[in-house]
């Protein structure tokens, strides 16, 4: 209850609250406003919206190693949304990962995190969602391949990878900020879902919490306090600025999923919540990679190839480049400058001192070249076009290697095969292959586990 009261206070101080012109009378409106803030912190909109004009009406495709999962309609429409869901059903979905009809939910829905939310907060989110206009939009079926289309298999997954229940925290008053930060990171903003690597069964590898992971071709970097491999060398102000704007000159700029998380969620958090989040991230166990000797943002030197290029190549209609420097000049230098230093105000980021380039994992560099950047914040719309349709795999590899060598970590190298895999959404998970190999044994084991779990659950209920 204390926590709920603290939350309410925080929510009332939030900018989301401040924007509401005429609050509804009574406690119902307080609950809805709190729910709106919590739904923003939990970034529900990201996976439950495909068309901006139809918020929360679902249909957003989430690529998984097993096939595409569509975020469902969570508007209060009774037919296609969740208008018929009771409070208990809604709480059960977030806390236990179980749908209205008792089916197990795919963990693309991060109930592993939401399970740690208080019941009050869950119900506030429900109240907010139910205050929105219902939108009729059927969610496409999830075309997963066998055996992943068997929801029963999820029971087995949960056994290994899901610990329901609230956060275990020190509830002393001195610990309030850290407690709030933990609640934000672990429960609401579900940071680990992207930033913690997964084990063989696609569960979070708790030993490497926040140590960095690959998600659909993008690297969610190490955000532990390690000064070389993580965010230890960032100041609090820089981290807050990053979470608000996605851009810290000389450090990093957000693209991909992080840009989305900042755009839809993190930038809307209150000052106090951002502070708490940063405080908490600084408190998690640092994870150091022994190959890291400098932070990713401390890499690179200005390019000087532009001068050497001129007057060498003939004027032609050839579409094959004579050098990677030429590709860089023709495709990148017009915005990022011939030296790679970008613009002085950071609108066009420097490629040196840039965490996506100064890395031994060039995933994000290649993804940004292919897909570009789109990040809308109070600072404006940061936009870079993707070059996927313009450059082939070998050209992207050549360009990426040039940038890694010049502006980044020269130990990193990519080849055309890597670019092709990135185009297809990142390296394939070993799980489907493993599953195919031992499909029957696995299904049998899962069925056995399922039987045991059902038995246990019934006993527990009784």
């Amino acid at each position: 209850m204390k926590l709920a009261a603290a939350l309410l206070a925080l929510a009332l101080a939030s900018p989301v609250q401040a924007q509401q012109a005429a609050p509804l009378p009574g406690s119902a409106s307080d609950q809805i406003l709190r729910g709106q803030y919590l739904a923003t912190a939990a970034d529900c909109i990201a996976c439950h919206t495909v068309d901006e004009k139809k918020p929360f009406a679902g249909g957003y495709p989430i690529a998984t190693p097993f096939g595409t999962i569509y975020g469902p309609n969570i508007t209060p429409d009774k037919e296609t949304g969740i208008g018929n869901w009771s409070d208990e059903e809604f709480v059960r979905a977030l806390h236990e990962g179980i749908g209205k009809h008792g089916e197990h939910l795919y963990p693309a829905f991060p109930y592993t995190a939401f399970s740690k939310m208080t019941r009050d907060d869950v119900l506030a989110i429900k109240a907010y969602l139910f205050s929105l206009p219902p939108i009729v939009q059927k969610t496409p079926p999830n075309p997963l391949s066998f055996p992943f289309n068997q929801r029963a298999i999820l029971a087995g997954w949960k056994l290994f990878n899901f610990q329901p229940g609230k956060l275990q925290q020190d509830d002393s008053p001195a610990n309030a900020v850290l407690r709030r930060g933990a609640y934000l990171a672990e429960a609401l903003a579900h940071c680990q879902e992207c930033h913690t690597p997964r084990n063989l069964t696609m569960g979070l590898d708790k030993k490497l919490a926040y140590g960095g992971a690959n998600v659909a071709g993008w690297k969610a970097y190490n955000i532990t306090p390690d000064p070389m491999s993580g965010i230890g060398a960032w100041t609090d102000a820089e981290l807050m600025q990053y979470l608000r704007t996605g851009m810290v000159k000389g450090k990093a700029s957000a693209a991909g999923g992080m840009a989305e998380a900042i755009e839809h969620s993190l930038r809307h958090l209150s000052e106090d919540d951002l502070k708490a989040l940063v405080r908490y991230l600084r408190s998690v166990p640092p994870i150091h990679d022994s190959l890291d000797s400098k932070p990713r943002f401390a890499m690179g030197k200005p390019a000087t190839d532009e001068v050497e290029l001129r007057g060498v190549a003939a004027i032609s209609v050839s579409n094959s480049a004579t050098s990677a420097a030429e590709l860089f000049s023709g495709n990148c230098a017009s915005c990022h400058a011939a030296s790679g230093a970008g613009s002085s105000d950071g609108t066009y980021p420097s490629l040196m001192n840039n965490s996506a380039v100064g890395t031994r994992d060039p995933s994000n560099l290649v993804m940004v070249i292919l897909q570009g950047v789109s990040r809308q914040t109070a600072e404006g719309h940061a936009f870079m076009p993707g070059f996927a349709g313009r450059l082939d795999d070998a050209q992207v590899a050549s360009l990426a290697n040039y940038m890694l060598g010049q502006f980044g970590d020269e130990r990193s190298k990519v080849d055309a095969g890597f670019v092709a895999r990135q185009r297809a959404g990142g390296p394939p998970s070993p799980l489907p292959k493993l599953m195919a190999a031992g499909a029957f044994a696995m299904v049998a084991a899962v069925l056995a586990l399922l039987a045991w779990w059902w038995h246990k659950r019934r006993t527990h209920t009784a």
Partner: protein, 525 residues
């Protein structure tokens, strides 16, 4: 064995007109084949060509002419166009996938309603068979397709609009702001230009970042080019064959049965279809039709060639203005576009050139024999103070101004080169005297010294006329729908159909006409 080439709609030419038609139809599920004479060049290659070329002022330099599909080249000159008559029509156009809008100022003006009724109102030129009001919805669609930014602040450009511009206009450069302030206070009307250039991320293309080389090449595609719709058309299912030089239109009775193209090896290919759209600009299209003896019962094919003859002024202002910040053109003077005077002399639009003057400043400083620190200072001073204005004059359609396939001169594939007879009459010359006076006044307002007038009627590469639109099949080539009077399945997309030149760049008008044509063809396919 050669592949049998066929499509419901065959489009010849992949510039903005052909690409818009192809995209609209492909989106509607129509099978579309685009034949482009020139090669496919990647943007980055054009950027590198521009950076490697010493001829920075020659906007054709980054687009090398090819053997199979030559186009005009000026550094060094390839003399592709054969000139007859008193004036050289030394126009620029690009034969490459995407066409000539690879390099342009991206000015996307609408015509004035009166530009459509020159004969009725002023007793000169011709009337269009359609009105401004009929074209207005298509103007807006074209603005959305191309991504036009313009003054959404209530500035009246004389062309009524029902919708705001898709984007607000870019901020004016310091120099443009100064001219805006001073000239508007002295009786001129200076306005921000509507341009197909992004002022914010639009259509998956970034905002202008001010490289200031729009007219050789926009390096980041903030400026619209025909290639945008070529690629969209291809995504929607249209097929494009590059290096396919159409040289013959084959008739079957009154209908077009096929077109024939040569590949770079000179091998001929026959392409059949139901509808044919010629969109190969106002020089190559009439050349093709005349070579094929198609559509010319009026005798008007290739005639009424127009452009916007330009004059200019260059002077040194008595204050630093720093041209070259932002895109190459941002503002225009529009108070001489229309009025009763048009029965007597040409309307015109004047525009301030925002191209960086470093090159001209350096040439002049070297010419003065300066060296060392003095040279540097002089370059800086001139680069900050050199002002250049240009103009478009509304030329009248004159059947004597024409393009024909040359009898003597052939290109690399043995196809006739264009021979152009062109003269500039008193209607323009009289107006140019008045323009000169306006230039002198502007130069005076900015304390101009070294005032140099350019009275040579420079080409502005707005190739109009030559396949003129009209109600009467005896005096025009196409009808109000851009369909040739002679052949019911042969259509023209592009500025060649425009019966008057107006005072503004023709691209938005030709884009609007192309979208209107696409609607018609969609109904037929």
């Amino acid at each position: 064995m050669k592949e049998a080439l066929s499509a419901e709609v065959v489009v010849v030419g992949s510039g903005v007109a052909g690409a818009l038609v192809a995209h609209q139809l492909a989106q509607a599920g129509v099978s579309v084949l685009i034949l482009e004479a020139g090669p496919r060049i990647e943007r980055w290659r054009i950027v590198e060509n521009f950076r490697n070329s010493p001829a920075k002022d020659d906007f054709m330099a980054p687009y090398p002419s090819t053997r199979q599909a030559p186009h005009p080249q000026y550094t060094p000159p390839n003399d592709y166009l054969i000139f007859k008559g008193t004036h050289k029509y030394n126009s620029q156009y690009i034969r490459a996938v995407g066409g000539t809008t690879w390099h342009w100022a991206a000015s996307t003006w609408r015509f004035l309603p009166n530009d459509f009724r020159m004969q009725t109102l002023y007793g000169v030129g011709r009337d269009w068979p359609i009105s401004y009001d009929e074209l207005e919805p298509f103007y807006y669609r074209a603005e959305v397709e191309l991504g036009v930014s313009g003054p959404n602040d209530g500035t009246d450009l004389g062309s009524p609009r029902r919708q705001p511009y898709p984007m607000d206009h870019l901020p004016l450069s310091y120099m443009d702001q100064r001219f805006f302030e001073v000239l508007n206070s002295k009786g001129f009307k200076v306005v921000p230009e509507p341009v197909a250039r992004n002022s914010r991320a639009y259509d998956q293309r970034p905002s202008c970042c001010g490289n200031n080389n729009c007219m050789p090449i926009c390096p980041i595609a903030a400026m619209y080019s025909g290639i945008i719709h070529v690629e969209k058309a291809e995504k929607a299912g249209a097929r494009l064959i590059a290096n396919a030089v159409v040289y013959r239109i084959e008739l079957d009775g009154k209908r077009v049965a096929a077109v024939h193209y040569k590949d770079p090896q000179g091998v001929s290919h026959r392409v059949t279809g139901k509808q044919f759209v010629l969109a190969a600009n106002g020089i190559e299209t009439p050349k093709l039709m005349l070579m094929s003896e198609v559509g010319n019962s009026s005798g008007q094919v290739g005639r009424n060639l127009m452009d916007h003859p330009g004059t200019g002024v260059t002077f040194q202002a008595d204050e630093d203005l720093w041209p070259g910040r932002g895109p190459m053109e941002l503002t225009s003077i529009v108070d001489m576009r229309d009025g009763a005077f048009r029965s007597d002399y040409a309307g015109k639009k004047l525009h301030l050139n925002n191209m960086a003057q470093t090159g001209s400043a350096t040439r002049m400083a070297l010419h003065l024999g300066l060296v060392g620190r003095k040279l540097n200072e002089e370059i800086r001073r001139r680069a900050a103070r050199t002002v250049n204005f240009n103009s478009f004059h509304d030329i009248l359609p004159d059947p004597a101004n024409r393009i024909v396939p040359s009898r003597e001169h052939k290109d690399g594939l043995g196809i006739a080169r264009p021979e152009i007879t062109y003269a500039i009459g008193d209607y323009v010359k009289k107006s140019a005297v008045h323009t000169r006076a306006a230039y002198a006044r502007i130069a005076h307002l900015f304390g101009g010294t070294e005032v140099k007038f350019d009275d040579d009627f420079a080409p502005n590469n707005h190739i109009m006329g030559t396949l003129i639109m009209g109600q009467d099949p005896k005096t025009s080539v196409v009808d109000a729908d851009c369909r040739t009077h002679d052949h019911e399945n042969l259509f023209i997309a592009g500025s060649a159909v425009m019966p008057t030149a107006g005072t503004v760049n023709c691209t938005l008008t030709l884009a609007a006409l192309a979208l209107r044509l696409a609607d018609l063809l969609r109904g037929k396919a």
